[in-house]
């Protein structure tokens, strides 16, 4: 198959989506779970379903449901505690398979990737052939299925992979783009969320066809500079390249987040987790020799869906854990928490590479040497082998780490997860 892009150059893009990834890995791991409705939860104390198998979805189980809701919807539902290390390892190996077919692989998240196979077609005959080979290898090695979309650009390839699940293979030929999009609801397009959908609906725009025909000036008046982009999306135009990890450039932020073992509202416990996250962010920033000026704090509440994020920018660059902690705590103290906290996240951005420089004052030098000694021990024996006394397990055990959207198969963005 040869696909001709609507832009200036010819491209063939695959979008590959691992079906119900975490649940599928758990079913491959444990034969007793295969073919059964299962729900994956974040930790032993967690009560919210993070993902579920297709068997569970068919019976009405949804992400974000409390376990009791899931059990009420599907009494035979089996609850499985997730293991992020297993998922990140599997995702990395799957991305290695992708690189056998093209170096241009962009990981969109842990279970979704784009492949630009334009220059590989002469070797592997066709994009469909590549898709079948990838499907077979993933199934053989990991026992899991994926849905693949083939199209002239990333936007349409993602749309195509979403059209048939599980284990699908959907092709959008250039000649069929208009026909495919005409009646397609706008919410199906990657990048159009619930709020944007609402705004577009208020303009009487419900389908991609209507969005593509909408006057660009009208969209620009309403949405500013993204108005043009929205119209192009409605027309199925997307010239954005597949950016492989190696081409992404320097890391732009260092962040960690964790779902707590149970929802907490005790300020002392929240501060403790904040310190733990600060240490994780600080140690990783120091490992990569970067420091940053902007600290961002993210909080998700117990109801799973409400959250907030606030940030502050300092005058000087920091990467020591206690400095990150104090700044994050400063942000937290400006907010009155409405509910118990489910998830906490801290990120350090506005980064610069840090030159080695000894502090002038004795106390500062001691702090730096102590931090370096601590990092060195933790690099060798594992994270948190040596840490702040406050973080020695107390009332609450550590939370489970969240695999962030910025997850990449290797390199600095591949966070340590447990």
């Amino acid at each position: 198959m040869k696909i001709i892009d609507t832009g200036d150059f010819h491209r063939t893009i695959l979008h590959i989506d691992q079906n119900a990834f975490f649940a599928s890995v758990e079913q491959a791991n444990n034969p007793e779970l295969r073919g059964k409705p299962i729900a994956v939860v974040g930790g032993h104390g967690r009560t919210v379903i993070t993902t579920s198998s297709y068997e569970a979805r068919a019976k009405g189980v949804k992400t974000g449901m409390a376990i009791w809701e899931g059990k009420r919807t599907c009494p035979e539902l089996i609850i499985v505690v997730g293991d992020n290390r297993k998922y990140t390892y599997t995702a990395s190996r799957i991305n290695e398979i992708f690189r056998d077919y093209t170096p241009e692989v962009e990981a969109f998240s842990i279970d979704e990737s784009w492949l630009d196979v334009t220059h590989s077609l002469s070797i592997f005959n066709s994009a469909v052939n590549i898709a079948h080979l990838i499907k077979a290898r993933i199934k053989h090695l990991f026992g899991i299925t994926c849905s693949i979309g083939i199209a002239p650009n990333k936007l349409l390839a993602k749309l195509a992979s979403d059209m048939q699940k599980p284990d699908g293979l959907t092709i959008i030929e250039p000649d069929n783009v208009s026909r495919t999009l005409e009646q397609m609801p706008i919410k199906e397009l990657c990048g159009i969320g619930k709020k944007m959908q609402l705004h577009l609906n208020m303009m009487s725009i419900y389908t991609c066809g209507e969005l593509g025909r909408c006057d660009e000036d009208r969209l620009t008046r309403k949405f500013g500079i993204i108005g043009k982009r929205l119209k192009q999306m409605g027309q199925g135009i997307d010239n954005s390249p597949v950016v492989s990890f190696a081409d992404e450039g320097d890391v732009k932020s260092v962040g960690h987040s964790m779902t707590l073992e149970r929802d907490i509202d005790d300020p002392a416990e929240i501060r403790r987790f904040l310190l733990q996250l600060s240490e994780m962010v600080g140690s990783r920033a120091r490992r990569y020799n970067v420091s940053g000026r902007t600290i961002h704090l993210y909080v998700r509440y117990a109801d799973f869906f409400s959250s907030w994020g606030k940030q502050t920018t300092l005058k000087s660059y920091i990467n020591l854990s206690d400095e990150i902690y104090r700044t994050a705590l400063g942000i937290l103290n400006t907010v009155e928490l409405e509910q118990p906290v489910r998830l906490l996240g801290i990120s350090l951005s506005n980064l610069k590479h840090q030159a080695e420089q000894l502090p002038l004052f004795e106390d500062e030098r001691k702090k730096l040497f102590a931090t370096q000694a601590m990092d060195s021990i933790n690099d060798r024996f594992g994270r948190m082998s040596v840490t702040f006394g406050t973080l020695v397990p107390g009332k609450e055990k550590a939370g489970s780490h969240v695999i962030p959207p910025s997850w990449r198969p290797d390199g600095v963005k591949n966070i340590d997860v447990e």
Binding site: N30, E32, R85, K86, F381, D416
Partner: protein
Amino acid sequence: MTKNPIRVAVVFGPGRTIRPVWFDLQNRKHSIIETTYTWTDLKGSARRLHFSVRDEGGLYELTYNTAEQTWELNRIEDY
């Protein structure tokens, strides 16, 4: 039960393949019918190899620490 040192019989095959064959648990030898999943991670600088294995009665997670050359039993799920 977590992180118990354990005695494991293993076949080191060509191509750096490692296949656990049996392990001892509470004075009983468990013959492994199938390795259902494998993955690796790092603990500090030590690479650990994880094996989900199945015998007649349950599913177990065995972990090999390549730096310390030790085996641990990390998880049991009875059928």
